[in-house]
């Protein structure tokens, strides 16, 4: 049984921001929030349903970037031509996470705000050097994903701020996304993106938050060195040695997928 709460259903961004500014908790797919409410880990007095806010809908590609509104579901992102073309690893992660029901209802914005350490979305967004737009009653700001997530389940989003959109630089160079998920959540996620001026490798799920490693080029990526350096949190998914081993294996597989020799 869920704890009792007021459910508000604003139909404009301004109304939604006002409700969040006065103590409401943003709510859309509910795939994370309702689960923690059921577990008794959260009992917000007011949920602000974003599903009727027109400004938060849709995926647009313009000015060299892709903008995903806060209402965009994982399934929408995975099926989007713009995302598949210009942020292929984000489409891959969104198409694999959770299960078909979570992908149909859960949103990328909610996933990012929840900051689950094993988030496929955060791994992909960090590799893509994405940022998030936050709006409050007082103004708006943009924060790189790298700075947005502080640790497991914690972000710099203030309670009175609403995540309005995720912005991803459009990239069409080589990239790869691989994961190992023997159960509902992955044990390791790896994203690799070759950019004009280097190579970004992100290892997720093994620690408190996805971790970024940068190299001059894809040929310089050393899976063993990454596995030795990455922060590991031991949990039911495995011991430290196991997770370091998996990290090296899956960074290697990501490089293979990109066609990097000697991976």
């Amino acid at each position: 049984m869920l704890p009792p709460f007021e459910l508000r259903r604003p139909v404009s961004l301004a109304a939604a921001v006002d409700l969040v500014a006065t103590g409401g908790t943003p709510y859309c797919g509910g795939t994370e929030l309702l689960a923690v409410m059921r577990l008794g880990l959260a009992s917000p007095e007011t949920l602000v349903d974003l599903k009727r806010v027109p400004e938060l809908v849709g995926i647009t590609a313009a000015h060299g970037e892709i903008r995903l509104g806060a209402r965009v579901t994982h399934r929408e992102a995975a099926a989007s031509d713009a995302v598949r073309t210009h942020a292929a690893i984000l489409a891959a992660g969104a198409g694999l996470l959770g299960n078909v029901r979570v992908r149909a209802t859960g949103t990328l914005a909610g996933n990012v705000c929840f900051a689950e350490p094993r988030s496929d979305i955060l791994t992909a967004l960090l590799a893509l050097d994405a940022s998030v737009d936050l709006r409050s009653a007082d103004g708006a700001r943009s924060v790189p994903i790298e700075d947005f997530v502080e640790g497991a389940f914690t972000t710099v989003r203030a309670d009175e701020e609403l995540l309005e959109a995720i912005r991803v630089p459009a990239r069409s160079g080589p990239s790869a996304y691989v994961r190992f998920a023997p159960a509902e959540h992955p044990t390791v996620t790896v994203a690799v993106v070759a950019t004009g001026d280097g190579c970004r490798v992100v290892v997720g799920a093994v620690g408190e938050r996805p971790e970024l490693f940068t190299f001059p080029g894809t040929g310089d990526v050393d899976p063993t060195a990454i596995a030795e350096r990455v922060d590991i949190t031991e949990d039911l998914n495995g011991h430290e040695d196991y997770k370091r081993h998996l990290t090296a294996v899956f960074v290697g597989r990501a490089l293979e997928q990109m066609g990097v020799a000697d991976a």
């Binding site: 049984m1 869920l2 704890p3 009792p4 709460f5 007021e6 459910l7 509910g30 795939t31 309702l34 689960a35 059921r38 949920l47 349903d49 599903k51 959770g98 299960n99 078909v100 029901r101 979570v102 149909a104 209802t105 509902e184």
Partner: protein, 159 residues
């Protein structure tokens, strides 16, 4: 207890009720409408036993607010068979013995129905990926995949 007026369609039937905001879709269809075909097992949207369709999309009714179906259409397993005539998906589950205890079956049937609506001729790999979030402890899954393939060959979701 906070409540909202909800106007929805369940299995083609209009329903208007005032519902507690904290009521889940699973409790709504089971307790308020008597549609107990939808099963609740894990309560954490992991097992898929409670899968129903909202505007054609599969959702975990255990973790979905009943108030969120306001203005939308719900399809539960009871809404499939037309006057006792099974759909191709239901018929294939029977023919392939794709069930034993049957507790997960309504969820699988609804998930498979959603798949065939989007992808009338899925590959085995697509079926396995789509049904990845539905758990069955009896069959070992192979008869279920076989049933979905058979339903696909038999015309998918329609006769």
């Amino acid at each position: 207890m906070p409540e909202l007026d909800v106007s929805t369609t369940v299995n083609g039937r209009p329903v208007e009720m005032r519902l507690p905001t904290r009521l889940t879709l699973a409790d709504f269809v089971r307790d308020r409408l008597g549609l107990t075909g939808t099963k609740v097992s894990c309560g954490m949207q992991v097992c898929g036993a409670c899968t129903v369709l909202v505007d054609g999309d599969p959702v975990s009714a255990c973790s979905y607010l009943a108030c969120d179906v306001d203005g939308r259409e719900v399809l539960t397993v009871e809404g499939l068979a037309d006057g006792g005539e099974l759909t191709p998906v239901q018929r294939a589950f029977v023919d392939c013995s794709a069930l034993q205890c049957g507790f997960c079956t309504p969820g699988f049937v609804m998930a498979a129905t959603a798949l065939l609506r989007d992808e009338p001729h899925p590959t085995e790999e697509q079926i396995a990926h789509h049904l990845d979030g539905n758990l069955c402890r009896c069959t070992g899954y192979l008869p279920i995949v076989e049933a979905v393939l058979k339903a696909s060959r038999a015309g998918g979701i329609d006769e």
